[in-house]
Symmetry: C2
Subunit: 114 residues, 2 copies
DNA sequence: AAAACATATGAATAGGTATTCATATAAGGA
DNA sequence: TCCTTATATGAATACCTATTCATATGTTTT
């Protein structure tokens, strides 16, 4: 294990290592993907493709409790994937960024290609 | 909570719900993103952008144990994101699919746009 | 002001998972 | 055949996280 130069040229290893982004960037990247790595969050984002929705509508559409949805919306909002606006008692959530849509659709394409 | 029609037209809710893929598909989608939701796995995939690498080279480049890397490689292989070939005692891993690269790069773009 | 409604949130719990440790498998060299 | 090297893997542990439950906050209505 201490002698990989036998199997890979040292310069290759040096180059491969240099191309690797910093730990911080790679951690941010994993964090971003983790946002989409939960069925409930993906469902919420998918629903918001069509239109803004209030918390209770999302909960009803997904057959989940208001609390569970609120917790997930908070995570999505903290990550700036969604934003909200208040209208009286009701709070409407919507996609904050069109990039969200393209991320999900790209994942979808990968699935279709198997 | 039981009366969301006050806030959203019923037909809108029906349409939004109809556009939603099946639970199975959305679960697969979340599972796909989960593969990229770990720093170690992202690092491994990134390293393989440049060239195929043996297990010990990956472990050394990332400063992690061979066992930890092997476990993660198994997950990536089971998901068909990487494949491998044997050369004597050494086993070389490589990206199974160019889609992997585009998925990660898309995530990267999202990060840059903040 | 009180009641009802929509949402947010903290604490607890249950389920998932990444790493470690010990060990197994498999190939090559002495 | 025995030893070394490269990799794989099962079990255990420690950490993370999604949901639930109870409750708090904020708004409207009566």
């Amino acid at each position: 294990m201490e002698n990989c130069e036998k199997h890979s040229h040292e310069e290759l290893l040096r180059r491969v290592k240099n191309e690797l982004p910093t730990d911080e960037v790679l951690c941010d990247l994993a964090d971003l993907f983790r946002l989409f790595a939960d069925t409930t969050r993906v469902k919420i984002l998918y629903l918001l493709f069509e239109s803004e929705l209030c918390v209770c509508a999302i909960a009803e559409l997904l057959g989940m409790t208001q609390s569970a949805i609120s917790h997930q919306l908070r995570i999505l909002k903290d990550a700036n994937l969604v934003a909200n606006r208040r209208d009286g008692k009701t709070i409407y959530y919507f996609l904050a960024d069109d990039h969200v849509r393209s991320m999900i659709l790209q994942g979808f394409e990968h699935l279709l290609e198997d």
